[in-house]
Symmetry: C3
Subunit: 461 residues, 3 copies
C-alpha cells in the first residue's frame, strides 16, 4: 500500500490515527463496491482472494493477499462470497477465531435453506463473531452513490460489541444502521430483500377481486342487458363508461374498509371492558394494512376523477349532446333551465371535489417524510377527523348522484340493484356505527377503557 502512497492520499487519511483495517473475502461485484466505498471513507482495505494477482477492477488503493494472510491484518472480515462456498472457510477457523465476520449474503428464494446463511456461518466457525449486515444494499447503489432505495442497513448478531463495530462502519459509509437483535433475526433480514410489497398483498388481492366482480356486474347490466332487451350495442362502454363506474365504487368501499377495523376494535373493547386483551389476529392484520387500503382507494378515486373529466372529449358524449340540442332546435324551442337539475348536478360535483381534495390531503400526509414531521396528535387528527370527513363527503356525493334513480324501477335491471347502491352499504354502515360511538354515553366508557380503566380488572392477570 505504501508504493502508491501519493495516490492513496486522495482517499485515505495520512495521519497516524487511521481507521482500523477491514478485510474483504471475495472480489466479486459487491466485495469490490463495498471496498471502494470503504476506502473513500478512510478505511484501509485488504482483500482475501484465491489469486493474489491484482485485477484492474479491484480498487487500486486496496491490497490483495491470500485469505489467511489478509484475515490476520484485520479484526473485521466481510464475507463477500456465496453460501455454497462457505465450507472453504473451515480450514481457516484458527485464523478467524475471535474475529468479527460480516455475512452479507442473500438467497434467491424466500427461506431457501433451513437456517439463515449467517447462522450457518456461525455454526461452521463457532469461534468467530458473526454479524449479519449490508445484504439489503446493492452494489450498483454503492458504486454510483445514488442510494435511492433504502439507506437502511439491517444489522443483527449475538455479540453486542461486534455488532457495534459493524454499525460504526455502516454509519461511516453514510448509511443508517438498524439493530434487529440477535442472529436469529438473520432469517428475517435475509428474506427482506426478496419480499415484494408484503403489506400490499392482501389489499391488492382484495381490490383485484372486487374490481373484477363489479366490472362483470356492470358489463352484464349495462352492455349485455342493453344488447338483449334494447338491441343497442354499447360494447365501447368497456373502455371508459364501465371503468368509471367501477372506480368510484371501489374507492368508496375501500375507504370505508379503512375505518371498519377501528370500529370493530371499539366494539370489542366496549364489550370486553378492557383494552388489555389482544385483538383477534385478523383484526390486527387488518389494522396494519389500513394505510395500503386507503392508498389503493385514493388511486381508484384519482382514476375516477380523470375518467370523469375526459367525458366531454368522448365521441359518445359529443354525439349525445348534439342529439339533445338538435332535437330541441328541430322542435323550434329552447328548454328553460331546470333549477333542480342544476342544483343536483352542482351539488354532487362540489361534494365529490371536496371529498377528493381531503382524500388527496390524507394521501400526502401518509408520505413517509411528511408523517415523520407531524406528532401523533396531528397524525391522528388528519387520519381520523379528515378521513371521516372525506368518507362523509364521498358518501354524500354518491347519494346525491344516484338519488334520482334510487326508487326508479328502471334502475333495477334483472331485479339487480345498480352498483352505486351496493357501494353505499359499507360506508353507510360505518358512518351509522361511528355516529353511535361518538354519543357521550358510549364515548365516555370507551375513553376510560382506552386510558387503562378496566371494568373487570381480574381479567388481565
Amino acid at each position: 500500500m505504501n508504493k502508491n502512497s501519493s495516490n492513496t492520499m486522495a482517499l485515505a487519511p495520512n495521519t497516524s490515527n487511521k481507521r482500523e483495517t477491514v478485510c474483504i473475502f471475495g472480489t466479486g461485484d459487491f466485495g469490490r463496491a463495498l471496498g471502494h466505498k470503504m476506502i473513500q471513507s478512510g478505511y484501509p482495505v485488504v482483500y482475501g482472494s484465491r489469486s493474489t494477482q491484482i485485477s484492474n477492477l479491484i480498487p487500486k488503493d486496496a491490497e490483495v493477499l491470500g485469505h489467511a494472510e489478509a484475515a490476520q491484518k484485520a479484526a473485521i472480515i466481510i464475507i463477500a462470497i456465496q453460501r455454497q462456498h462457505y465450507n472453504f472457510l473451515t480450514p481457516l477457523a484458527e485464523v478467524l477465531r475471535g474475529k468479527v465476520l460480516v455475512d452479507i449474503s442473500n438467497n434467491l428464494k424466500l427461506n431457501q435453506y433451513p437456517e439463515s446463511n449467517a447462522e450457518y456461518l456461525a455454526q461452521l466457525l463457532p469461534g468467530s463473531k458473526v454479524v449479519k449486515a449490508f445484504n439489503t444494499v446493492s452494489a450498483w447503489a454503492l458504486q454510483s452513490g445514488t442510494l435511492d432505495a433504502s439507506r437502511q442497513v439491517f444489522v443483527c448478531g449475538d455479540d453486542v460489541e461486534a455488532k457495534q463495530m459493524v454499525m460504526n462502519i455502516v454509519r461511516a459509509l453514510g448509511l443508517t444502521p438498524l439493530d434487529k437483535g440477535s442472529l436469529l433475526a438473520a432469517q428475517e433480514i435475509e428474506n427482506y430483500p426478496l419480499q415484494l410489497f408484503p403489506m400490499w398483498r392482501f389489499p391488492m388481492f382484495l381490490s383485484l377481486g372486487l374490481t373484477a366482480f363489479f366490472f362483470f356486474y356492470c358489463v352484464a347490466l349495462d352492455i349485455i342487458y342493453t344488447y338483449i332487451y334494447e338491441n343497442n350495442d354499447f360494447s365501447f362502454f368497456i373502455a371508459i363508461t364501465i371503468p368509471n363506474r367501477v372506480c368510484p365504487v371501489m374507492a368508496l368501499i375501500l375507504l370505508a374498509l379503512v375505518y371498519v377495523p377501528g370500529i370493530f376494535a371499539a366494539i370489542i373493547q366496549l364489550y370486553r371492558g378492557t383494552k388489555y386483551r389482544r385483538f383477534p389476529d385478523w383484526l390486527d392484520k387488518w389494522m396494519l394494512c389500513r394505510k395500503q387500503l386507503g392508498l389503493i382507494a385514493l388511486a381508484f378515486a384519482s382514476l375516477h376523477v380523470v375518467f370523469t373529466l375526459v367525458t366531454p372529449l368522448r365521441a359518445f358524449a359529443s354525439w349525445r349532446t348534439g342529439k339533445g340540442i338538435i332535437s330541441q332546435a328541430l322542435n323550434n324551442k329552447t328548454e328553460p333551465l331546470d333549477h333542480t337539475k342544476a342544483w343536483l348536478s352542482d351539488s354532487y360535483l362540489a361534494l365529490g371535489i371536496l371529498g377528493f381534495f381531503l382524500f388527496v390531503l390524507l394521501g400526502i400526509t401518509s408520505l413517509p417524510s411528511v408523517s415523520n414531521n407531524v406528532n401523533w396528535r396531528e397524525f391522528r387528527f388528519v387520519q381520523s377527523k379528515l378521513g371521516y370527513m372525506a368518507l362523509i363527503l364521498c358518501t354524500a356525493h354518491t347519494m346525491v348522484y344516484g338519488g334520482k334513480w334510487f326508487l326508479s324501477p328502471s334502475a333495477y335491471k334483472w331485479y339487480l340493484p345498480n352498483i352505486y347502491i351496493l357501494s353505499l352499504i359499507v360506508p353507510c354502515a360505518v358512518l351509522v356505527v361511528k355516529f353511535v360511538l361518538i354519543f357521550p354515553c358510549v364515548d365516555k366508557p370507551l375513553t376510560q377503557i382506552r386510558q387503562g380503566w378496566e371494568r373487570n380488572p381480574k381479567y388481565s392477570e
Copy 2:
C-alpha cells in the same frame, strides 16, 4: 430469566458482553411496549411493579420484581407511571441515588402544571439524574413497528453523560434522538405532542377569514343582486360557481402574501443600512409561516383547477351551451370564429396552466424529503425564482381573464368591483416593488448589506 433461556436466545444476545440492563417502573401500555422493543434490541429488561405476579401481557423475557429490587439491577430506570403517582418514589430516593431516571410522561393539556413533569421528578429526587425522553413516541407505534409518525425522540436533561446513555438506547431502538438541551426544555418537549399544527394556525385563520369575506361578497353580488334586479334565481351558484370564484382569488392573494415579507425585509434593510438588527416580531413570524401560506394557496389553486375542469359536466353549462347553439340554429346562421376571443380564451388558459404547473413544482420541492436533497442555492432558486415566475403567470392569467370586464360598467354592481379586481391588488403591488428592487441601483447596495456591509457601522455596538 435463565429458566426459559432457550427462548430468550431469540431475542437477547447469548454472549458475555451484554448490553446494560434497563429497569422499567410501571407495567402499563407504554412500559410494556418499550420493554418489548428493548428486549428485541438486546437489552435485558427488569420491571419494577407493586405486584410481582407475572402478567401474560409483560414480555416473557423480562423479569418482574419489586421497585427497590428492580432499581438495584440497572443504572437506567424508565419511569413509566403517571405524574400524580410520582410521590411514591420518594421513599426509594436512596436506592435511586445516582441513577438515571427517564421521564417519559405526557400531560393532557398544554402547560397543565407550573413545572414540567421531568423537573418535578428532579425536585422529588435531587440525587438522581433525570432525563426527559420518549414522550413523543406512541405505544402503538412501538408495538406494531410502524413508526409512521415521527421517529424523532426529543431528549433533554442536565447531566450530559446520562443524556448520552439515553440517546444510545434511543439509537439502538432504531429511533433518532434529538438533544434539546437542559431539563428546562422539558416543558417544551412535554407540550410538543399536545400541539396541533401550531405553524398552520395563523395561515389557517387568515385563509378562513378571507374565504368567508370573499364568499359572502360573491353571494351578494352574484346571487342576491341578480335576484333583486334581474329576478333570476341563481342560488345553485353556491355549490360551484362561487367557490370557483373564491378559490383563485384566495390562491393569488395568499401566493402574493408569501412574497410580501421578503420585500418588507429588503426595504427595512435598505432603510437601516445594515442587516445586523432584528426584524420586527410580526415580520419574523410572517417569514416563518411563508411555507404554510404557500401550501394553502396551492390547495386553493388545485381546487380552482378541478372546479374549472368540471364546468362542462354541469347541467347549467350544458344548458347555456345548448341555448347559444339553438339560437344560432333558429336564426339559420353560423357565427364565424371570433379570433380575438379565441386568442384571449387560449391565452388565459395557457397562462393559468403554466402558473399552476410551477406552483405544483414549488409544492413538491417543499416536501421534506425533497427539500432535504437539494442544497441552499437550489432551494432558493426554486422557491424564489420559480415562485416569482408562478406569481407573474398567475397574475397575468387573472388579468387576461378579467381584462374585458375591467372597464365595463356592468361589472360594478352596487358600485363594488368584481372580486378578481380585488385579488389583483396585493400581487400587483408585490410585483411592482420587486421590479424596483431588482434595478441595479437598488440591488447593489442591498446585496452589499446582505454580505455584511454596514452603512453606519456604529449602529451594531
Copy 3:
C-alpha cells in the same frame, strides 16, 4: 459566563460533566448562529474576536475574548471568517498547534482558488488538525430552526479523531454528519453549495432543445402551412393547441429515452460476454440521469393532461362543436352514433389515462422518502416492470390516437410526417428490442452474465 448564571440555566447544563467548550473565531452571521445553536445543545461557547466589546447580537451566554485567549479555552475552534483573512491566523500558529480547526467557509464561484479553503488553512497551520464541515448549512436555517433544505453536514479531514469530534457536535445539533473522507474532498464539499441541479443539466438542455425543435416544426406545419395554402389564420394555436402537441411527444420520447441505456447495456454485456468491463462513459452518465429524464417526461405528460382537459373550455372548441351541431340541425337530420369512432375515442383516452396513472405512480416512488422505504426488488419492480407497462400503454395511446391519419396523404404537409409519427420512433424501437431481449434464448445468457458468468474469463485479468 458566571455573571448571568441564572439565565444560563435555561440552556446550558448545570452539572459538572459539561460538554467540551467550543471556540468560534469571528462574530459574523454564521458564527453567531452556530454559537447560538451550540449553546442550546449544551456546549459552552467562547468567541474569539478583534474587539472583545460584547455586541448585543452575540448569544448572551457566550464569552467574548481575544483570539489567542479564546483559542486556549477550547480543543475545537470554528473558523467563521473569510478565506482572504486566513493569514491573520499565522501568528497564532503556536496557540493553535494540535487544536481541531473547523473550516466552514464557502466560495462565491466554483473552483475559485487552486486549492480548497480547508487545504489552504491546513497549509498555513500545519500543526493544527483541519476539518471541513458545516459549509452547506445556512445561518438562517440554524437560527430559525427550520432546516428545510438539507440536514446533511458533509465532513472531511485527514485526522480521523478530529473528524469524529466534529461529527459528534454535528449530531448533537440535530444534524446528520456524512463523512466524505480526507481533506482532498474539501474542494468537492466547497463546490457543493454552489451547484445548481448538476444532475438535471443534461436532461434539461436535451428537453429544451427537443421542445424548441418540435414547437417550430408544429408552427410551420399547423400555422404557416395552413395560412399559406388554406388562408386560415390559426395563430392562436400557439397558446394551447401546439403546446398540447409538443408535450405528449416530448413525454413519450423522454420516457423511452429512460429505457434506452438499459437496453444498450444489455446488448454490450451480451456482445462482450462479461459484466466485468466498464460501460463507455456516455452510457454511465446516461444511466445516472434516467430518473431526471423520467421526471421531466412526467412533467410533460402532466401538462399534456391538463392542456387536454381544458379543451372544452376553449372558445375555439365550443365554436367548432356549435358549428357541427348547427350544420346537422340546418340539414334537418341527426347523425347516428358512429361506433368505430366511439370505440377509438374511448380506447385512446382509456389507454392514455392508465398510462398516465402508472407514470404518476413511478413519479411518486421516486420521491426520496418513498424510495427509502422499499427494498431493491420492489424498487426495480416498480421502475422496470411498471415503467415498461407505462411505456407500452402510452405508445399504444399514441398509435390508436393517430392511427386514422397514418396512411392519409393529407397528414403529410410539405411531405413531412406529423410529429406524432416522429414521436413513435424511439418508443417502438425500445419496445421491439426489449421484446427480443426477453426471449429465453437471449435472456438466459444475459442473466448468467449478470450473475457473474464470463464467456471468456481471461478478459478480466
